[in-house]
Symmetry: C2
Subunit: 712 residues, 2 copies
Amino acid sequence: MKKPRRTNVPAHYIIDYIISAMLEPFFSPDRIAIIGASTDPNKMGSNVIRNIIGFGFKGDIYPVNRHALEIEGLRCFPSVKEIPGKADLAIIIIPAPGVAGVLRECGEVGIRHVIIQSGGFSETGPEGAEREKELQEMAREYRIRVLGPNCIGVIDTHTPLNTTFVLGTPQKGDIGFVSQSGAVVVSVMDWAQSKGIGFSRIATMGNQMDVSAMETIHAVAGNPNTRVITTYIEGIADGRKFLQVARDIALKKPFLALKGGQSEKGADAVSSHTGALSGSMEAWEAAFRKSGVLQVNNMQEMFDQARALAWQPLPAGRRVAILTNAGGFGILAVDALQKYGLEMAPLTDKTRSWLRERIPSAGSVNNPVDIVAGTGPATYALALDALLADETVDAVIVIQAPQDWFRQSSVAEVIGEGATLYRKPVITCLMGKTDAEETLALLHKRRIPNVAFPERAASILAVMDKRRQWLDAMKQSGELAAELAAEPASEVPADAARLIKKKDWEALAAAYGVPLPPQKTADTEEKAVRAAGKIGYPVALKLVSAKFTHKSDVGGIRLDLHSDDDVRRAWHEISAAADKAGADMQGVLVQKMLKGGQEVIIGIKQDAQFGGLVVFGTGGTEVELYKDVCTAIAPLDPVEAARLIDGTVAGRKLQGWRNMPPRDRKAVTDILIRMSQIAANHPEIAEMEMNPLYVLEDGNGAFALDIRGSSS
Amino acid sequence: MKKPRRTNVPAHYIIDYIISAMLEPFFSPDRIAIIGASTDPNKMGSNVIRNIIGFGFKGDIYPVNRHALEIEGLRCFPSVKEIPGKADLAIIIIPAPGVAGVLRECGEVGIRHVIIQSGGFSETGPEGAEREKELQEMAREYRIRVLGPNCIGVIDTHTPLNTTFVLGTPQKGDIGFVSQSGAVVVSVMDWAQSKGIGFSRIATMGNQMDVSAMETIHAVAGNPNTRVITTYIEGIADGRKFLQVARDIALKKPFLALKGGQSEKGADAVSSHTGALSGSMEAWEAAFRKSGVLQVNNMQEMFDQARALAWQPLPAGRRVAILTNAGGFGILAVDALQKYGLEMAPLTDKTRSWLRERIPSAGSVNNPVDIVAGTGPATYALALDALLADETVDAVIVIQAPQDWFRQSSVAEVIGEGATLYRKPVITCLMGKTDAEETLALLHKRRIPNVAFPERAASILAVMDKRRQWLDAMKQSGELAAELAAEPASEVPADAARLIKKKDWEALAAAYGVPLPPQKTADTEEKAVRAAGKIGYPVALKLVSAKFTHKSDVGGIRLDLHSDDDVRRAWHEISAAADKAGADMQGVLVQKMLKGGQEVIIGIKQDAQFGGLVVFGTGGTEVELYKDVCTAIAPLDPVEAARLIDGTVAGRKLQGWRNMPPRDRKAVTDILIRMSQIAANHPEIAEMEMNPLYVLEDGNGAFALDIRGSSS
């Protein structure tokens, strides 16, 4: 008998699972109390109860209103205390001053889940914040989980439950949506209806006085009906928690995010809007990359891509075939694929000759395959099958310009049927208004996303490919780490705290295993000569002075010294320069003179939202001007370090360029990881930077020639 | 009595006007012969005649068909020769082999305008090309202007005339559309119907055997009903003609272009598609910039922007105010504005305090102005008026998230009325499906474009701003040119041809007024010392050898020589190095040693489609790696030269950066213009490049240290 296989589930998975399970009553309660239910159609309390009933909630509904006997045909209760069976979810929609009283009553009768939709709390100013604090303490006292206040509640299309006041019914589907803005949810629901986009769960978080953004995202993403999670995020309280939760989710399901407040001005609007703190955009982008979250630019893109990711398999590679009945659209699709970094599938000779016999002679059997105007569903069926069967094809875009010879719906049906025979993504762009509704219905039935213009199909495939690459990279991470000769120390060196206090950044870097060039300080001419002899010529001499950190500005550097005499002369020149500049010369640093290397910069800094960041790029004095740098969140694993390097021109140059030899990229990767450990281990270091890190030819290592830092 | 003011109309304006007038019968004929008209609904000849009748053409229609007596109730003729009154436009829709015969008949009866919609010509291969050549000769013989073959004809919504076979009627409007692809027209018409986009004229060009792309664009753009011209272009025959015509049009009307075949692969598809030659993308982008054509990325963008440019005034500046009832969308709009380089209007204190008294206390009177949920048309009316009246506001985006308290159509009506009081653009983003149709109708009546999400409003305003800037730059061009001290020679220097033949690029540059550093060649040590003394120390010595152009590779350069002794030593070192490398030392170039300058590159090259190009950017050995270069079409005027410089990091660095002083930007502008003259005057120079052009501090000039070239 085999032993049952044991899977290694990290502890935080289990904790998050429990938290998410504890939030279930928000989405699938059995008995709901609606405090503030109303018969007055001008009040939100009227819309909410009508939505709950109208959406088909199957459990018990208890309207609570002191002044009514019956609402929407249901018996009404003067308070939650009078409800016979205990409700497991209460919704509060009464004016702010009364909320505390009814929340206490909920606590007293043992209701553990409450959605406060009322506004008038921390979003309005100090007085409201005071009120919110009172609610927070009360929630803690009675152990009530509270969603809101100042939110529009939740929707679960499968329960079904709709606690919002918004008219209009979202379609059942597999996209989960969590939004920091209620208005964004309202308009997305509105817009999605006409686009065939269906939802599993939708949740808004309001002021997050208790249930956090990450908990809400977890509850929506963790739901089995959710295949893709979409989010509108302005700012979050705990960046590190976001990284962990988002990555856990993204490993299982595609996670799309639209970040509001990207610009400086946008960030201003965020603070005045929800009071949430928005981190710098580079940090957010790095966080999305690290956790596998797919960042989108706008709403349309988010749901275009969500639908495709929910419906279609991921492509195995980036080679796309285009099938079209109009050359112009083939060209536009090729342009878009190129723009998004995808490739044209070459197609096998077999495919081409097979197609040649079956499409009009005016058509093209090279990719894009152009079956020209006048062809119909039969030709589409044959060509699509040939392309999907071709091993050089990873995905297919099917385009049909409007035509009057065949019903477009027949083409839709043919594509829907043909695509199911293969595990390759198919995106259509069937244009034409004649039987558009039937066409869309047939495509959606087969889970084929249709777009209005070919460019959008390319953008969808690009995001699918990005996700595939990230999942592949996640698998690789473990393997690559093993390959690296020296596993970097993740433990904190014994004397790290002391070195940081002393601001001895060189020693700290060395303690973490960052290689410094052979070097020695010397406080007399004789000692300098001896040090040079020991290190071996050629050497460089650098002024040591507490007053001047930019030594070159005062003439405090002498390079490429080849003899004892050179060193003596350099000593005197530096002394004279120091005197002239009024520097307190404490001696010189005698450093092995390195040559023929490439200068890169590695920096670390702390971000308010995500903690330690690592920056890599082209080094030198013009770093800020050319901005050839990329940012990542610390700590880095080898795959992340490699991606950080590859994101820059400096990284491409490391691989060798023109008559320059390839440099020691492996050494750079290693040092990047070590620096990222420093960033992760020491939040008290505000900034630390080696500029340049001097990278020698492959196999000869890289050395930090100048290290600076500052601590908080 | 005042003299009548004489306007300076360039000759090509008049010629183009005449050409365009001569094409009028294609769009507004009086009597049309339809050769190939058919009663068989499966033939295009049936669709065409039904479209001409159905679209309401008011002139005479003569179906020509040997086998029918009557088609669609009209008397049918066996040939054009039998038609009683002469037709002024003939449309041919019969199979390719018969086309030549009927074209000759058209010629014989004196028809001077023919649209050949039949396919089967040069687009299908050599046999078809042969047939097309025959038609071309015949057209020349009879002086017939031919549109096509292989096109879908034209539409004029005002005549009204629709010669296409496409079902569906485009709406009357003010957008002109010219497309190199018939399929693109078909799908755009189809899609535009549901978006409230109307057209003045639409034309397709097919194989352009006679009437060219530029003539067609001219005829559509020149029509008084056209307020904006949109084009789908794959490739054109005469790039220089495009530049001239496009600029003339763009000075009068906004000109939008979607370029198909941008990518390498896309360009492949172009050649196999229409046989047209597609230039390199950089050249196209430069051509669009030079001629004021607004380049778009896709169809949706093109018509989004066309509608706005047709309907709304241009903004006077780039400061935008946002009016919203939902904070989240305000944030997304701000993000998008920032992304597109627009600014947030600061708003005056007066506006803010006026608004403070009129909007809910939870709202924000800072830009974005948030009037929060629950407000309706009255609040929108007040806030919009306050923003439009504010002198710090150049344009307004009005956003409404869906809400149930007020009819959205009332908000639409309020905005439409309020916007007409000011000459500032207003773009709306009213979301909500309830009375969407009525809302759109009301907005369109007032010529207000509405978009689905705020990002698109920002992209529209960005393009409007781009057009305003280009028009401003056109005005400036003349003024700036006058400011420049030395008007560059546009005449060809007398000995230019000889210098090009000798490949003496330095002398050629000098003949065009490009400053070289003080320098002198010397073929002996003594002459070198004398030359150095004359030039003044410090100097540099550079090996002169026919064999080695890259002198530094063989140790052929010695810099920063301060004395006669230095020069002698350098002479011997260079001699030794030349010997060792096997170079035929002809002497040395003694050059004034320049210091503290910035290295930039200026290059010129020839493009197959647009002729001379000028490239500017960061110089040095790593030009290709950092790719900090921009391209423009030669010749340059001062404004174009300034824009070319500003498009690069090198240009920003010229203005001074950190502790670097501002450099002589004016000298760079002057040299750029001179180099552009060389590119324009000498197409036989394939490439010529100065790397580096050494730019000294402001007022001290710039010197070409190394010039290379190659000629065809």
